[in-house]
Symmetry: C2
Subunit: 246 residues, 2 copies
């Protein structure tokens, strides 16, 4: 009789080829599964709430797994795995979970943060976690347009071409825009996200802020599904999975 | 007739062997001088306000240099060098300076920030720029002890064994302690600093916060010069040169 565990994981995504295990690439799931095997001898499947892309970071990715070993307390798993895991990933919580807890399918929402460094000059200290936009960005225009994306909409214009989800209606609960000097932060909470949805939202809002498209592009995209009316897909390294809501 | 320039430089110190040029190591001064030679053909000496150690970061290092080329405007130097420089260093300002401006000897003060991640579990996202202290730290004890270090004192107990400065009296203008969750930030402004002075101040204050030494150790160190009464030298990667005052 195995036990189900719930892990909260933080990582710097720079040197990972994303979350999902791949045969030859270094991935977060792969590194976690390898560390668990090194510690317990067990080959487990670690299910992540969000399969983050290459370069995407996490402050609070959540995952679930089953472990046979019933003699290791959760704090022993936390300490033991953190001593094995490389510097760019760590467990920040380990807890026993109900047998039916599934990090991905039990999730009721997720919160992502996207960071933009809006300045003529790039920032070496934010090179890993902020998208450098060297053009002037009107934050008030972004703040005015953001509410157009909040609520229940068909977000099919805001997904990657290879996104295979059948339903494209999602509820964006909030989309907060904050500015501290050159640092522009967008925080989005939704029931669930389509592939690249946050990055296309951000790319489109930044284009509104640069005056390349008008805010009316957003209702147009939501109504017609016209991806081409939006902005570019913002690069992965500005994105962080902040937390998962259950 | 050459012109003197004043540069403000930002860098992530992780992959540098410090500021000062060395024959075989990658240093900030070396990378800057190489980029200037690549752009202008001139072999220059770039004088930094602070010769930061390996792993130390800068948000606002200042340097001075003389350039023969008088046909490149400052914004052209900024853009040109930033396109050559690697991702972990950038110029954030370039300005013409008075002929007697010397980044090091004209400085009237410097501000450093030290960041501590005080939490049982390490933080992968702060691994490059915060010192992980896994023991409980009493921030109020640190806040109460910090003013003991402010003012004019003989800081000979707060310097590296190989520090060769003749005078060891310095004026610490302020030492601010801030806490946001697990992130503890100490900001120190002084007329000038001895080698490793900030790192020994921080190591000592953290030991006060951990209860390993009492706050009376600080006046004792200032009066007797007894380095051994203090804490360890906090690691370099938590330190950032924020700005230089002229």
């Amino acid at each position: 009789m195995s036990r189900r565990l719930r892990l909260v994981v933080e990582y710097d995504g720079t040197d990972f080829s994303g979350w999902q295990r791949q045969p030859t690439e270094r991935t977060v799931q792969g590194v976690l599964e390898d560390a668990i095997r090194a510690m317990t001898g067990e080959t487990v499947f670690v299910r992540g709430a969000g399969r983050t892309d290459a370069g995407v970071h996490a402050d609070g990715q959540v995952c679930s797994l089953d472990l046979e070993a019933d003699n290791i307390p959760t704090h022993g798993i936390l300490r033991g795995l953190n001593s094995i895991l490389p510097a760019d990933v760590a467990l920040i919580e380990v807890a026993e979970a109900a047998p039916d807890f599934d990090a991905r399918f039990s999730a009721r929402g997720k919160v992502y943060r996207y960071t933009v460094w809006a300045h003529l000059v790039r920032s070496p200290r934010r090179a890993r976690d902020a998208w450098h936009v060297r053009h002037p960005v009107d934050v008030e225009a972004i703040r005015a347009a953001a509410p157009l994306l909040v609520g229940e909409h068909d977000f099919r214009a805001f997904r990657a071409a290879d996104c295979d989800r059948r339903t494209t209606r999602r509820i964006v609960r909030r989309l907060d825009v904050d500015r501290q000097g050159a640092l522009l932060t967008l925080e989005v909470e939704a029931t669930a996200f389509l592939k690249n949805m946050v990055r296309i939202l951000v790319g489109t809002l930044v284009d509104v802020g640069r005056g390349r498209i008008g805010p009316e592009a957003i209702p147009h995209m939501l109504e017609t599904g016209d991806r081409a009316a939006g902005g570019m897909t913002a690069p992965a390294h500005g994105l962080t999975l902040l937390r998962v809501i259950y």
